[in-house]
Amino acid sequence: MRTVIIGAGQAGRRCAEALRELDAAAGILLLGEEAHPPYDRPPLSKAVLLGTDPGNGLFVRAAEFYAERRIDLRLGTRVAAIHPAARAVETAAGERIGWDHLVLATGARARRLRIPGAEDPRVLTLRTLEDAEGLKARLAARPRLAVVGGGLIGLEVAASARQLGCAVSVLEAADRLMARCVPPAIGARYAALHRGHGVDLHLSCALRAIEPTPDGGLLLIGDGARIAADLVVAGIGGVPETALAEAAGIAVQDGILTDAQGRTSIPGIFAAGEVARFPHPFWGGRAMRLEAWQVAQTQPAAVARAILGMDAPPDEVPWHWTDQFGWNLQVLGDPDPSLTLVQRAEGEHRLTAIALDAAGRARGAVLINNGRDATPCRRLIAGGKVLDAAALADAGTPLRSFL
């Protein structure tokens, strides 16, 4: 039995690894458009831009790993079409390759700005290692950088560029930072962090146009602000790579629609990682497409199990993180702004905040520089025990005592 995996990113790698772990005889072909062996993207906006050592965080596996595990890795190979009836894929070079099971692990691409002036070559996005290396080279000249989007990637780029000595502006259309993932109180702390490091932060500022200026620079025309820059990075989210799936008649809706184990609408075809939209038990089975390392790390293993006729592994509490100006932020579960946020301050720059629902059950948590609380928080969220907000607010009482 041969499984062909399209996309040699984190999810494609994880699916191949899990298949091999579970089945010594499986034929595994991993096809990747990029020139590099699989790499994880989190270091791109952090260590790679800063020029610090990403350790094993970028290329998680040594080059020999794939051959040792008999994973047939073909790089620089773009799949141009899927033929479900013939159970084959066709590469851009015209080669047809047959499969018994097919996995789409095509990820996402960076969303591009769609405003006048966005086609200027000085308007960049960050998704690939080439993007990161190109941006790093440009930042070396210390341009005035304008970042569009106050979400995770935009703020990481802003922090890295500021640390490299660039003048940095951030434009965010919402009235707060990281609005999609943290409560307002946490967004406000991060606004103060960025301003404290000299970032020129513009909230409630939607960008309308980018214009070249006579002095060879750029002018960003936003609501209520005009910002001069030499370079622009747009961090405005990702667009799932679903074109192949759509052309093959697979059901797609801002992501490839799958069941909990990655089965698409066509039998034998699966989707893994950031491209998949699947019913998430944490949200009562609501279909979610999550842009996080955790999903690309663990969901592909559930797909591998489905391919081999095995059931799903246990559910996980959703988790992602971001690193900015040396601060580590971790978000667990869903700390929705509508919930009651109990803050346990453990020092000036160390915080655990737990979001309780109306009944007093933990639904989410936010940790600033306090990763040691991640596991207790994960258990509180998974356990669903009713908690006393006042007792929980006392940072002197260890979190484990609430488990």
């Binding site: 260590a47 350790g55 094993n56 965080g57 596996r61 790390q297 990763g371 991640a374 596991t375």
Partner: protein, 102 residues
């Protein structure tokens, strides 16, 4: 040459409460478990982070950044995303003081 270094008074070291220290260029996490005091390299083998800032339970230390787990007694990497073990160092207690050999 591996030398013995005094790192703490024995009474200061609470069970499963890691102590992170620096000996020369080496970062070390010292942890008291039920069966003794153990020392491992404090730096996660995945990406840079100090394990002594992580969660400690059942003889395991968890990286505070990405939750990779290490066995405090053997240094073994027990879970993703870490693949590579951390070094272990001998410890001893003398006259109420804890020493680590690095």
């Amino acid at each position: 040459m591996a030398d013995w270094h005094r790192v703490a008074a024995e009474a200061e070291l609470k069970p499963e409460t890691p102590l992170g220290i620096r000996i020369g260029d080496v970062q070390v996490a010292v942890v008291r478990l039920a069966d003794g005091i153990f020392a491992i390299n404090d730096v996660c083998t995945h990406e840079f982070a100090l394990l002594s800032e992580g969660f400690c339970e059942d003889g395991k230390l968890e990286c505070p950044l990405h939750q990779a787990c290490f066995d405090i007694r053997t240094g073994r990497a027990l879970s993703e995303p870490a693949e590579v073990d951390v070094a272990t160092y001998p410890t001893k207690v003398e006259n109420g003081a804890v020493f680590v050999q690095v």
